[in-house]
């Protein structure tokens, strides 16, 4: 591991140790937070007993579905908007202000239309993620060097070949940024809707545990989500960096 990597481990380790000390000495009382080692113990017990497997599977399935929808629709819409300048200019103010709007406000409409099932949650998560994908697709397509497209025309590549061999490799890193954001938004969308109103899932279990002062369930579930999103984000970031390095671009 690099020197910086060790520093990072030290920082995280120090923070966890600080929390541990604060909890053990009672500076943070038991009702507010459990000591980190207890959270780890509860988390492993929970995973071994499998009592949350249903909730975890439900949340993950919905998140993945919303993510796939957001990626598919977002990349297609981004590619189309890139061609139609007027439409893009019209939608630009919407994209720029989109994330200041609480999308969750639309959740009740979806419940009325689709019933209290998985569909409203998937739609909310999709709505949160899709704009990030569109914006980053546009951003990536903007940065494809024109010389590559000219080369493709000279070599008489078909549109599919041009997309696969020229556009995709050079827009790739930006697309990945969109993917990373979409992962985070898909999680937020599904778990947030589960908080508001649902019949199951990790978000539902967290708010249920919160209402019952059941910290032994609440903290492990929160930590589980945080670890999962950090891990996914870490893998994608590493991939992104590799792509950027291969293109000779410095990581942003």
């Amino acid at each position: 591991m690099s020197r910086l990597g060790w520093y990072r481990v030290l920082v995280v380790g120090g923070l966890v140790a600080l929390l541990e000390v604060l909890c053990l000495t009672g500076a943070i009382d038991k009702i507010t937070m459990q000591a980190p080692h207890l959270i780890v113990r509860d988390l492993s017990r929970m995973l071994v007993s499998g009592r949350m497997n249903g909730a975890i599977a439900k949340t993950l399935t919905n998140t993945v579905l919303a993510l796939l929808l957001a990626l598919g629709a977002g990349i297609v819409a981004g590619a189309l908007l890139h061609r139609v300048r007027a439409l893009r200019d019209t939608l630009d103010p919407l994209f720029a202000t989109y994330y200041a709007v609480p999308v969750f406000a639309f959740y009740p409409f979806f419940i009325v239309i689709f019933g209290l099932g998985d569909m409203p949650q998937i739609l909310i998560a999709f709505m949160l993620g899709v704009v990030a994908v569109i914006v980053n697709t546009l951003n990536g397509l903007d940065r494809v060097p024109p010389v590559l497209l000219k080369t493709a025309r000279i070599m008489q590549l078909s549109p599919v070949d041009t997309a696969l061999r020229m556009t995709l490799p050079s827009a790739g890193p930006h697309l990945l940024t969109g993917v990373k954001l979409a992962v985070a938004y898909a999680f937020i969308g599904v778990i947030g809707s589960e908080f508001i109103m649902s019949r199951g899932g990790i978000g539902y279990e967290i708010s249920f545990a919160y209402a019952n002062f059941d910290n032994a369930t609440m903290y492990p579930l929160i930590v589980l989500i945080l670890l999962a999103s950090i891990a996914i984000n870490g893998v994608l970031s590493r991939w992104e960096r590799k792509l950027l390095l291969r293109r000779g671009m410095r990581s942003p």
Binding site: R8, V11, M33, A96, P102, F106, V112, Y210, I222
Partner: protein, 251 residues
């Protein structure tokens, strides 16, 4: 024919967008009906009655207060930490990836912890707003400092400027456009953060009204509150965006 100016074109685009959105809204209303949606006209009417009522004004003020404090804290903390990490290469390189991954975690899941730590009320809202808003400001400031042309820094060193003079006369002017982008993104995220906190962890404010509407299934209330939030966010974000573009064009 005279070429329309940039500003007028953007204005025209926004107008087209607004008309299109209202049209879609009306069409959707025709499709799903009164159960799930209120028509644009009914929503406007309800919004007008809301603004006339006294309790609504106090909810708006509450939201604005929480948001204002949270944004002020986000800006101050974000700039301080951003400049620190930008200057101190070692801390910057160590902490930046960690802050980036904090940016990507679903912070909404942390709300029960914030509630337990801060209790129901203003401080939880402010904490949640800061949690959302401070990270982009840190990251944009950090990258603005890193992207400052080395020649400017060298000039500063040749002129024997102190660290604070360096920030005031060299870094700040050079980094302002990018920092402003951070402030703009931070604005949107702080707003969404404080609203989310109100939805889940408060008895007051627009977010609470929204949750109340959801709970009582008062469609007109939900639509009106959403409309007020959207119009506010849209107006301020557009303003910030136009300033942002002007700053970037200047450089």
């Amino acid at each position: 024919m005279k070429q329309p100016t940039m500003a007028r074109r953007t204005g025209l685009h926004s107008l087209v967008l607004i008309v299109a959105l209202v049209a879609i809204w009306q069409l959707l209303y025709g499709w799903v009906g009164d159960v799930a949606l209120a028509s644009p006209l009914a929503t406007l009417r309800y919004t007008a009655t809301l603004f006339a009522s006294e309790s609504f004004a106090s909810h708006v003020l509450d939201t604005l207060r929480a948001f204002g404090i949270a944004y002020a804290l986000s800006v101050v903390m974000g700039l301080l930490v951003g400049f620190w990490l930008g200057f101190d290469r070692l801390s910057g390189d160590t902490l930046e990836p960690m802050i980036v991954s904090l940016y990507a975690i679903p912070k909404l899941t942390l709300y029960p912890i914030l509630l337990l730590a801060f209790g129901l009320g203003l401080s939880a809202k402010v904490a949640f707003g800061v949690l959302h808003g401070v990270i982009p400001i840190i990251l944009f400031t950090l990258s603005a400092v890193h992207n400052t042309k080395p020649i400017l820094m060298k000039t500063g060193r040749v002129l024997n400027l102190s660290r604070s003079q360096m920030v005031r006369w060299i870094l700040f002017p050079a980094a302002v456009p990018e920092i402003f982008t951070g402030l703009r993104v931070g604005f949107a995220l702080t707003l969404i953060g404080s609203l989310l906190a109100e939805m889940f962890a408060s008895q007051r404010g627009l977010g609470y009204l929204l949750m109340n509407g959801i709970g009582l299934h008062n469609v007109e209330l939900i639509m009106s509150v959403t409309l007020v939030i959207v119009v506010f966010a849209f107006a301020v974000s557009s303003l910030l965006l136009s300033i942002d573009r002007r700053l970037h064009r200047r450089v």
